[in-house]
């Protein structure tokens, strides 16, 4: 049994350069993320937040340092981590249910239990009635819900979300953020969420990694000691605003 207090994701002096070292995308990132923690990565473009996410996902390789997941170093895409992007990236010729089943299909022939799990996950993201709809028949928000269900179908307990609701309107996004908190809370998943919206970052997270550009680095890790479950009204409280100020100061905006 793994100890709950042991970090699920760690980074030791992680760096990433592009163009033969000419561009430093990420420099000396150090972090420990305990199980079940919700981490937000926030910062302006070029601060390396997407790079860090892709490094953890094993989609790119670190130039220096090491990232570990569940205690083993990341060397490529793996089963215990799943990623979701700003675009839903659904296959248009598959129904919502068939899209959710894709990760399973790529590993083995789906069993009846896999199929039932996919159906349940669609229910969990609020699309129980749309299991047999095609992506073109769904709204942008609904497509992102399918993408979230597909991410959960992988069974990964580390979820990497790269501005997952960034392309949606404000109301839909706030609503989906609340749903996301409920779902990852129910599953006890460790979540890393990239955003450039400071309030959103604080509202969702247990820890905010404030990142600054040129070179990209984690300037500060801000703890968010606000109680859960979180309600939208939280954003008008003095404690919340104090955290916003703290993040903005780190970003050099005040």
């Amino acid at each position: 049994m793994t100890n709950d207090a042991a970090p699920v994701v760690t980074g030791t002096h992680v760096g990433k350069t592009f163009a033969n070292g000419a561009v430093v995308a990420l420099e000396n990132a150090q972090f420990n993320i305990p199980k079940g923690t919700f981490v937000s990565l926030v910062g302006p473009s070029g601060c390396g937040k997407s790079t860090l996410l892709r490094l953890i996902a094993g989609l790119i390789e670190a130039s220096s340092g090491e990232i570990t997941l569940h205690g083993t170093p990341v060397r490529g895409p793996r089963q215990d981590v799943g990623m979701m992007f700003q675009k839903a990236t659904l296959l248009e010729w598959r129904t919502a249910l068939e899209n959710v089943l894709l990760p399973t299909e790529l590993q083995r022939k789906p069993t009846r239990a896999d199929e039932d799990k996919a159906r349940d996950l669609l229910g969990l993201v609020g699309l129980g009635d749309f299991a047999f709809s095609f992506p073109a028949q769904l709204s942008g928000g609904m497509q992102q819900r399918v993408a979230l269900a597909r991410l959960l179908q992988t069974g990964a307990d580390v979820l990497l979300l790269d501005e997952p609701f960034g392309a949606l309107d404000e109301f839909t996004r706030e609503h989906l953020n609340l749903e996301l908190l409920r779902i990852v809370g129910e599953l006890g998943a460790t979540t890393i969420f990239v955003t450039h919206n400071i309030a959103e970052a604080i509202f969702l997270a247990d820890q905010v990694f404030v990142m600054t550009p040129r070179p990209g680095r984690i300037a500060r890790i801000v703890d968010v000691p606000l109680e859960r479950p979180r309600r939208l009204a939280l954003q008008t409280t003095p404690e919340f605003n104090r955290l916003v100020v703290e993040v903005r100061e780190t970003l050099g905006e005040l």
Partner: protein, 277 residues
């Protein structure tokens, strides 16, 4: 009387206008021919064409055999040519090295009118069905080849990254992403190919006049039996229209996700399959 025009009435009136205009044109043609304004040698009367239809389809009934021969060639050549096109298109599309070396030849061949090679096919394969099928294959090959190639090359990068992140094998990426993603553009190529096949069979039969609807047109024209030639040409018009509609039907079945009504149909079917599992 209703003030707002009812849609049914509008459609009916429009249909009647079209029919009236068409009948007027036919009447004009018939009268001009009867009055000797048109040379009857080249422009037969509509009534004569109608009589020829009756003769070649009913009393003499000879067109059926030729139609059967031609359509047989069309479908054989089309299937062979387009399957070859799709297969080679995928192969070349998936292999960057092959693509780089093959590219110049593809450009040269694409710029060459394929029909120009028809006599060479006869020289190589002799008279008979094989050379005719080869000519049709030649005109059918390129559209599916080029479309498959571009469909396979232009795979959505984000989808590709998703598959990689999910640990998909190369074979899975091909079968579950690249090929289905290319289906609509491949189908567009197939539509062009089948239309080309119809022209191809006519060229093949004009060069080798033994049987088939192309030979029949040539024979009638040489005998100055223009009414029957026109009946054959209109037959081809109908065949062409049916082919077009048929391919449209097939496209809606295969690339259903591009058509709202078909999506709803497939959706209902998958739901039924799930419930019956």
């Amino acid at each position: 009387m209703a003030l707002a025009p009812d849609p049914m009435g509008v459609a009916l009136r429009r249909g009647l206008t079209h029919a009236g205009l068409f009948l007027g044109l036919l009447l004009l043609w018939e009268t001009s021919a009867r009055l000797g304004w048109l040379n009857p040698l080249f422009y037969p009367r509509p009534s004569d064409i109608l009589l020829s239809f009756g003769r070649i389809y009913v009393t003499q009934g000879n067109v059926w055999y030729h139609l059967y021969v031609s359509l047989g060639l069309v479908f054989t050549g089309f299937l062979a040519g387009s399957i070859l096109g799709v297969a080679l298109g995928s192969l070349v599309g998936l292999n960057p090295t092959v693509r780089r070396f093959l590219q110049p030849y593809v450009i040269v061949l694409e710029a060459t009118p394929r029909i120009a090679l028809a006599p060479l096919m006869i020289a190589a394969l002799g008279f008979g069905a094989p050379s005719k099928i080869a000519i049709i294959m030649l005109v059918c090959f390129f559209a599916p080849f080029i479309n498959t190639l571009s469909g396979v090359i232009n795979v959505n990068e984000e989808k590709l990254e998703l598959f990689r992140a999910l640990g998909a094998s190369k074979w899975q990426i091909l079968r579950k992403l690249v090929l289905p993603d290319a289906v609509p553009v491949i189908m567009a190529g197939e539509r062009l190919a089948l239309t080309a096949a119809l022209s191809g069979v006519l060229v093949a039969e004009f060069i080798q006049r033994d049987k088939g609807i192309g030979s029949l047109i040539l024979t009638y024209t040489r005998n100055l039996n223009m009414a029957s030639a026109f009946a054959c040409i209109f037959t081809l018009t109908i065949v062409g229209f049916l082919i077009f509609k048929g391919m449209e039907w097939l496209d809606r079945r295969i690339a259903y996700w591009n058509h709202d009504a078909d999506m709803a149909r497939v959706s209902a079917r998958r739901k039924a399959r799930w419930e019956a599992r």
